[in-house]
Amino acid sequence: MDSTTIINDTLNLSDISREVIGIVKTPVITGSKLKRLYKQIRSESIFKKLLVIVAVAMVILVAGILFTLIVESIPSIKALGIKYLWGKTWDPVQDIYGAYPFLLGTLLTSFLAILISVPFSIAIAVFLGEYYPKGWLTEFLKNTVELIAAVPSVIYGFWGLAVLVPLVRSFEIKIGVDAVGVGIFSSALILAIMIIPYAASLGRSVIQMVPSSLKEGAYSLGATRWEVIRHIILPYTKSGLFAGILLSLGRALGETMAVTMVIGNTSIIPKNIFAPGNTMASVIANEFTEADKPVYLSALIELGLVLFLLTVVINMIGRRIIKKFTND
């Protein structure tokens, strides 16, 4: 049985089953066919239940993570209170914990990375979605971009430390800032490369979905290719493009390994974007194994909670913006 007949059968099914319920005996349906129908209905409902279970399991999982983070953060919340969020000192020796330098580091690296990566990812999306949607070059480019997402982050970290950091250092010497190489700027560059495929892939898909009637209409009125992109494609796909950027941002906020290797890991508040700093994810990864005091451990988990909530808030704001785009 091929897929079309399955679809046909299921489509007929609803009509027939209504008949079965309404009129007990219908001449069209024979015994064996009726049996098969019931079987199909049963498997349909099992499938539906399965979907519901999986969906609910995801919700429980996320709620469970949030719950664990909150419960494990309680000792730290009790000891440090709300000033944890803007405390500027992170001193495990004296049990003083302030998340501000790391909060700042996370936001700076992520948004800087987005700023750097967006022109590239949108350019790739337009090129692959509009200019060359088919052909071997397109396939090659598409796969290469997707490969960027598949490379393990520790490799980006190594590459960053070995290749990018010396380049950034010589750049810093040229512009006359403290030349340490590692820092917020290097991390943002690495992150920018890592997150390109997320926005680029989603962007490409939405650009390909722009109805050709719209584009043809514009062309027939004498629009140039640039005008079609500028006035038809980009406005039509802006919510999709933005969703891709949001996905990239989520990736940048949580990235740990590559950032740890090139950010300089200091809890001193960065003075400029070339200064070393630290991010929340990186602090957790660095200090979790040797957190030898209950409040210390709890403060690290609270850092995880803050990161979780930050991601939720940014996603909510993002959704608002997407909704606004779509309503226009």
Binding site: P92, V93, Q94, P166, G181, S267, A281, P294
Partner: protein, 363 residues
């Protein structure tokens, strides 16, 4: 569709990242069947990553000799102590003795058995300087406090007569991950500098006043190698294996000591308290390297817990006794310092104090 697949993967990746942060502790708790397991021929240990290369060698040799298997998880000293606290392992291993808070968390007394000693060396990147540089405790503290900012500072020049230093700015590289190496180094600085002690203090993670953090020895070594003018601390074994330059450090007796296996063993040649919880930093020994420390195996004094059999306890104690005696021959080749005679006799006395159901295990 292609993208859908990827976004699903991304979602899973995010979730797994999120769960990673909390994963450590819950995993440990779930392991609770470990010590109650029926096979007495497999012991489970966890802790110090510094000990791991030595332990791997020792346990492989011990397995050849006796058939006993040891499953050692190199998870870090702190995690090893918390697993011991949860009674999910037979022994822990730590580069620092348990602190007051960790002591209050365990249900019964824990024994510290010294098994090896390691040193922390001061490595640097000064391409212009060919001689091995000399450092005193006060200069070292001032450098790491950020008070000495350039290599041509007179304080450095005064102790290195005849060496011409460049005016390069000093860049400090420290560990970003919590580690026993940091603990030994900051304990040393706290002992020799009052200012360090009050401003920063000691611990496996501290609030560094200046400098950059690198993850692991390799992270710090990477920062040092890449940045002219950098200085940082790394494990002796790592520095030797990677041909990094390292300084001589002046000890309490006033001698400038090159860190090596002999000078670390010498550092442990002091009177050791009965519980062996001593920091070897700033040692009194005249030939001892001042930035060194023991690494300990931690076990419960009373071995009868969680339905452990007496055979299991006996296997554990025999293993530890072997590590303290015969096992020491494997240290040198791996750049660990063998225990001093004083340390071995202290370890013996501690091992004999371990009991099973109130009775001594080792005679």
């Amino acid at each position: 569709m292609n993208f859908m697949g990827k976004s699903v993967i991304a979602v899973f990746a995010l979730i797994s990242l999120a769960s990673c942060s909390g994963g450590g502790s819950s995993e440990n708790k779930n392991d609770s069947t470990a010590t109650g397991s029926s096979s007495n021929n497999t012991l489970i240990g966890a802790g110090s990553s510094f000990d791991n290369p030595l332990f791997s060698k020792m346990f492989a040799e011990y397995n050849k000799a006796t058939g006993l298997k040891v499953n050692y998880q190199s998870v870090g000293s702190g995690a090893g102590i918390s697993q011991l606290t949860n009674k999910t392992i037979d022994f822990g291993a730590s580069d620092a003795p348990m602190n007051a808070k960790q002591d209050s968390a365990v249900s019964s007394p824990v024994l510290h058995i010294p098994v090896t000693a390691g040193a922390v060396v001061i490595s640097y990147n000064l391409p212009e300087v060919k001689d091995t540089i000399l450092l005193t405790s006060s200069v070292l503290a001032d450098i790491f406090l950020g008070k000495i900012k350039n290599w041509n500072d007179p304080k450095i020049a005064n102790i290195n007569k005849g060496v011409k230093f460049p005016s390069t700015a000093i860049l400090i590289a420290h560990r970003s991950d919590g580690s026993g190496t940091s603990n030994i180094f900051t304990t040393y600085l706290s002992k020799v500098s009052e200012e360090w002690n009050t401003k920063v203090g000691k611990g496996s993670s501290v609030n560094w006043p200046v400098g950059l953090g690198g993850k692991g020895n390799e992270g710090v070594a990477g920062l040092i190698k890449q940045t002219p003018g950098a200085i940082g601390y790394i494990e002796l074994a790592y520095a030797v294996q990677n041909n990094m330059p390292y300084s001589k450090v002046q000890n309490k007796a006033g001698n400038f000591i090159t860190p090596n296996i002999a000078s670390v063993t010498a550092a442990a040649d002091v009177s050791i308290p009965a519980d062996s919880k001593i920091s070897l930093t700033n040692t009194d020994a005249a030939n001892g390297y001042p930035i060194a420390g023991f690494s300990w195996v931690l076990i419960y004094k009373e071995q009868k817990y969680n339905n452990r059999s007496s055979a299991r306890a006996e296997n554990l104690l025999k293993l530890l006794s072997w590590m303290v005696h015969d096992g020491q021959q494997f240290s040198g080749a791996l750049n660990y310092a063998p225990l001093s005679a004083e340390a071995v006799s202290t370890a013996d006395a501690i091992l004999k104090s371990a009991t099973y159901d109130g009775k001594t295990i080792l005679q």
